[in-house]
């Protein structure tokens, strides 16, 4: 190779030019600063690649070397150098924002800033905001999210704890039961002192002690066709940890009607199942299970053992699904059923397809009167719930 090759100049563009290009799309935007600076304020869709990690991490952030790639930093120096480095790596269409994010802000252009978070929140959620997939804007989404948990029991307890810790702004809890000593082997949100107390109020105390940012709404009631639509309407995501089939079918029918995503798990002895139902995007609960099983195959109808820690595993998997749905990142379990078998420590994934003949979400699904939501012709014969 000729040693006389002239070094290419880096194209510098003014913030307003960059903003116009970004607005037009098809631009990879890279923030070449340190994580704490990024956390304070960054451009929307700016991907953080700190200068020291450029060589290692740029390929993941900007896989296409022919794509328009715009870099920025605080004042324009680090991004200029990084742009030179990228050109040397073969990137063909690189530009650096002159004056960096400071000039950008001076021109009155918008940034995603930590301003929406208080100083305490910046500290509390720092391990979230450091993740590019969450960031300050993601944390604000979590703080603005409303999640309804059906059941504050074996699944609901761990799910609620992690959602509360994550800063889900509103957590609704539906349960009409009181804390029993036999719950405490797995329902870690309650404790010995609270035996006899309603589960919703016990859970509220634990959540409020864990994270004062969370607004807990207690629904000390049993779901039925008369109250479900009104109840779930205000929430963004529903978590199904119900202990009986009638409630599961009722929730399914109402959530499809209102197009609410449902993270659904169930547990028995050493085994758990989990899937995420997003109406009309993937299958619904009835596509997976068109008919509930009879009593002898539906042990929720009678007392059965369950490994406490397995409930915890499934509950935290539910919390993980909720957080991904709220953030809009990753791959939720839509169209996938994940089985967990704790004795073998084995996960199995099965495909779940939309049923074109589904009576609830199928193309020719009939209109259902409110009072008929969740109904089965002779369901009471099978299982009293």
């Amino acid at each position: 190779m000729a040693t006389t090759e002239t070094k290419r100049q880096v194209e510098e563009i003014e913030p307003f030019e960059a903003a116009r290009e970004i607005e037009g799309g098809d631009v990879v935007l890279i923030d070449t600063r340190e994580p704490h600076e990024y956390q304070e304020a960054h451009l929307e869709n700016g991907k953080l690649v700190p200068p020291g990690l450029l060589a290692d991490e740029v390929a993941a952030a900007a896989p296409d070397k022919s794509a328009r790639t715009i870099l920025y930093c605080r004042s324009g120096n680090r991004s200029y150098k990084a742009a030179e480095q990228l050109q040397a790596l073969g990137y063909e269409d690189v530009a650096s924002v002159a004056g960096g994010i400071l000039a950008w802000q001076e021109q009155g252009l918008p940034v995603i800033s930590a301003e929406g978070l208080t100083a305490e929140q910046r500290d509390r959620y720092s391990r979230h905001t450091l993740l590019p997939e969450v960031g300050v804007d993601g944390q604000l989404k979590l703080l603005n999210a409303k999640v309804l948990l059906l059941g504050a029991g074996g699944l609901g307890a761990p799910t609620a704890l992690y959602l509360a810790a994550a800063g889900i702004g509103t957590l609704g809890l539906v349960d009409d039961d009181v804390v029993d000593a036999s719950n405490l082997q797995r329902q870690v949100i309650h404790n010995t002192e609270r035996i006899g107390e309603p589960k919703t109020s016990s859970a509220r105390k634990t959540i409020e002690a864990l994270n004062p940012d969370v607004n807990v709404v207690e629904h000390n009631l049993r779901l039925d066709a008369g109250n479900i639509l009104e109840l779930i309407e205000d929430y963004d995501v529903i978590v199904d940890g119900a202990d009986n089939f009638p409630t599961r079918y009722l929730l399914n029918d109402a959530s499809v009607r209102l197009r609410k995503p449902v993270v659904s798990a169930s547990i028995l002895s050493f085994d758990g199942q989990i899937s995420t139902f997003v109406p009309f995007e993937g299958p619904c609960y009835r596509c997976l299970y068109p008919t509930p099983p009879p009593a002898e195959l539906a042990p929720s109808c009678s007392a059965n053992g369950v490994l406490g820690v397995m409930a915890g595993t499934m509950g935290t998997l539910q919390a993980n699904e909720v957080i991904k749905l709220v953030l809009g990142v990753g791959e939720p379990l839509i169209g996938r059923l994940l089985l967990y078998e704790a004795l073998g420590t084995r996960f199995t994934e099965l495909k779940v397809r939309r049923d074109p003949d589904c009576p609830i979400c199928g193309e020719n699904a009939p209109e259902i009167a409110d009072e008929d939501l969740g109904k089965f012709p002779d369901y009471e014969l099978f299982c009293a719930g």
């Binding site: 329902q187 089939f245 599961r248 547990i267 539906a298 099965l350």
Partner: protein
């Protein structure tokens, strides 16, 4: 020979075994081999008409046999047949 994964609610009928080996060239034959070896499973898998009960999902490896050829779905050596009834436990 296929491996049949037994759900917790049927394990009492298989002597506690979570997996059973069963022979057959299609899903129906494999399940019939299972019910022959463990007769108590039969009424829970099959209705009186001989069809699979609607509340029992059966998967060949990771695919629901309802979207394949049902009980006629061909089974190869080493395949896994998963029997999966709905579970409602959450508390």
């Amino acid at each position: 020979m296929a491996t049949v994964r037994i759900p917790p609610v049927l394990r009492q009928q298989t002597g506690g075994q979570p997996e059973v080996e069963a022979d057959g060239s299609n899903v129906g034959e494999v399940l019939r081999a299972l019910t022959a070896a463990h007769p108590d499973t039969e009424s829970q898998l099959f209705g009186e008409d001989g069809d699979l009960n609607r509340y029992v999902n059966v998967y060949l490896n990771d695919e629901d046999v309802r979207v394949l050829d049902g009980l006629d779905t061909a089974v190869s050596d080493g395949d896994t047949v998963v029997i999966l009834p709905a579970m409602a436990g959450g508390s």
